[in-house]
């Protein structure tokens, strides 16, 4: 972790909402900025818009080179001209979530609750947000673009939670939804993983009670450990074995050859080196307080909670077409969670497709090369378009 200086860039393209967003916690957060990217052309009838919801540490740069990291868009495989989400046909919108750190209002934004000191940022005073709050902000953005009804809302992992929240909160606002590698509520195991990540950040002396910006530092150690731990949950035992096995690489400490003195931390396993790289690159692009806010929002997510623990009434009478997708080796959002969702949708007499993609790549499979998954996305969207008489 040589460089922990956060990457910075000029302003991200965004929409501003001076009236703000009414949050589930009762607070009105104002003003609110939502940073977003679009691809393709909105049709004259404004009926071809697809909203893509990004995962926890993703952002709005879905199909273009990221201005900070210089890496390709996180779903360029899926979104673009001729791709399964075809920008020659669809107008694609992707926004940074409320509470994020890529241009949307979040803990790193200037504090605006009337109690701020000059130049103070929200930090841990940022009001607690929920997945539904994120969706409310996206709804404002979509309406501000003049779109009355979306063609579809698509997203994986935490993006899938937003997709489900869209379907429940604004069921008239879209023809179809694709919740991918997600669940109708956050499991105890997933809350547990999130808590370990949060504690790693909070335990870092550089976190400074959440006011690290005052000292011009970031809790890089804690944030990197949180990322390393979380990254393991995105993979699978098979894929770790396939990619790294038990292979070693020369450690950064000392320079012992095979005949050199034995050192506990001299040589390291390749998997360790990989995780360290994941951790160190993450701290430069992600804000620690955003990590805390957003993981908390995921923990609170439970679609059934507003319906006495029953998932079915949440979807009662819905006209939205659903395509639920899970991945066989995903143990973070396992197929059993997707099946629970699919069955609840069946009980609600919803039009639902449910596919489990066979893969050894774990939760991250939805971001990777999976031809069956690509075919499913393309085919489902074409089917919805055919049903709606579009194109």
């Amino acid at each position: 972790m040589n460089s922990t200086t956060p990457l910075t860039v000029g302003e991200h393209p965004h929409a501003s909402f001076p009236e703000g967003v009414e949050l589930d916690c009762g607070v009105t957060l104002a003003p609110v900025d939502i940073a977003y990217c679009t691809y393709g052309q909105l049709s004259a009838n404004k009926d071809n818009a697809i909203l893509i919801c990004h995962a926890f540490t993703g952002d709005q740069y879905v199909a273009e080179t990221h201005p900070l990291t210089g890496k390709p868009g996180w779903w360029e495989r899926m979104v673009g001209p001729g791709k399964p989400i075809d920008t020659n046909r669809f107008f694609v919108i992707c926004s940074n979530v409320l509470g994020g750190c890529m241009g949307s209002t979040g803990p790193r934004s200037p504090r605006t609750d009337g109690q701020e000191a000059p130049g103070e940022l929200w930090g841990t005073a940022f009001p607690p947000i929920t997945i539904r709050d994120m969706v409310r902000a996206q709804h404002k953005l979509v309406r501000s673009l003049g779109i009355e009804r979306l063609f579809a809302v698509v997203g994986g992992s935490m993006g899938g939670m937003q997709v489900l929240e869209w379907a429940v909160t604004y069921p008239q606002m879209m023809r179809a939804v694709m919740p991918i590698a997600t669940a109708p509520f956050h499991s105890a195991q997933n809350i547990a993983f999130n808590e370990v990540g949060r504690q790693a950040i909070i335990a870092d002396p550089d976190w400074r009670g959440g006011r690290y910006w005052e000292a011009g530092v970031v809790p890089a150690r804690g944030l990197a450990v949180a990322r390393m731990m979380a990254h393991i949950t995105y993979l699978s035992e098979e894929v770790l074995t396939r990619k790294f096995g038990r292979r070693m690489r020369r450690g950064p400490v000392g320079g012992q050859g095979p005949e050199g003195p034995v050192s506990t931390f001299g040589d390291i396993f390749e998997v360790e080196s990989y995780l360290r790289y994941q951790g160190s690159s993450f701290v430069r692009r992600f804000d620690a307080n955003s990590y805390l806010s957003i993981t908390r929002a995921m923990d609170w997510f439970d679609i059934a909670a507003d319906h006495d623990g029953d998932l079915t009434p949440a979807f009662a009478g819905t006209a939205v077409r659903f395509c639920v997708v899970s991945f066989s080796s995903d143990w973070l959002f396992p197929t059993s969670a997707a099946r629970t969702l699919a069955r609840a949708l069946n009980r609600a007499a919803a039009n639902v497709s449910f596919v489990e993609i066979e893969t050894d790549k774990g939760h991250d499979a939805f971001l990777l090369e999976e031809p069956d998954f690509d075919r499913t996305v393309r085919g489902f969207l074409c089917g919805v378009a055919e049903h709606a008489g579009l194109f």
Binding site: R343, N351, S353, E356, G379, G383
Partner: protein, 199 residues
């Protein structure tokens, strides 16, 4: 489309809601949706076929007759279809009950164990019969609940289902000419196709 699927499609009114249990590659629901304007959905156990159907824009869920029908609400479909599968489910009686709970009509097809070739082979050979329709040995057949046309009619009588239509067909799905006599159909029909409704 197989000929017996065409016969099934002919039993279904246009613009109705149809659930096809064991929808395979989605041929029947695709036809009903595109040619008949039906809201046709599928359940399929083979994930490869599910993916292929969804990739063709058809609403299909992964599941099976024994475990997933309980999750559908009462009267949510006009027709519930079960093709060539009743003999292979764990609890055929319960599956039929679920079908007629979910749908107004049930369309069921199954291979007829009363066919003369089967009877003759058992009589003369003394071994479990093997034919073009019943082609797996007893120790690995998925067909754990074989029945004859008369057995099936008796179950319908016991459980109070009304037979709206029935057909005996040969293996290729051609209509067999024994429409008037159940006895003859039970002897010469390789497959049976029933349209049932609740009393």
């Amino acid at each position: 489309m197989r000929l017996d699927q065409r016969l099934i499609a002919d039993m279904i009114e246009p613009k109705t809601r149809v659930l096809d249990i064991g929808s395979g590659d989605g041929t029947l629901i695709g036809h009903l949706y595109r040619e008949r304007g039906c809201d046709a959905r599928g359940i399929e156990l083979n994930m490869e076929l599910v993916t292929r159907s969804v990739a063709h824009g058809l609403p299909v869920v992964h599941g099976d007759a024994d475990h997933d029908l309980a999750y559908y609400p009462d009267h949510s479909f006009d027709y519930v279809v079960l093709q060539r599968t009743l003999q292979a489910v764990e609890r055929p009686r319960e599956v039929l009950r679920q079908m007629l709970r979910i749908g107004r009509y049930a369309i069921v097809s199954f291979p007829n164990f009363g066919h003369w070739q089967l009877r003759l082979r058992l009589l003369l050979g003394g071994c479990m019969p093997m034919t073009a329709v019943w082609h797996t040995p007893w120790y690995e057949t998925p067909n754990i609940h074989p029945c004859t046309i008369r057995d099936f009619l008796e179950l319908c009588r016991q459980d109070g289902y009304i037979v709206e239509k029935w057909l005996a067909v040969d293996e290729d799905g051609e209509r067999a000419p024994w429409r008037r006599s159940i006895r003859l159909a039970n002897l010469f029909g390789e497959q049976a196709l029933f349209l049932l409704r609740r009393r």
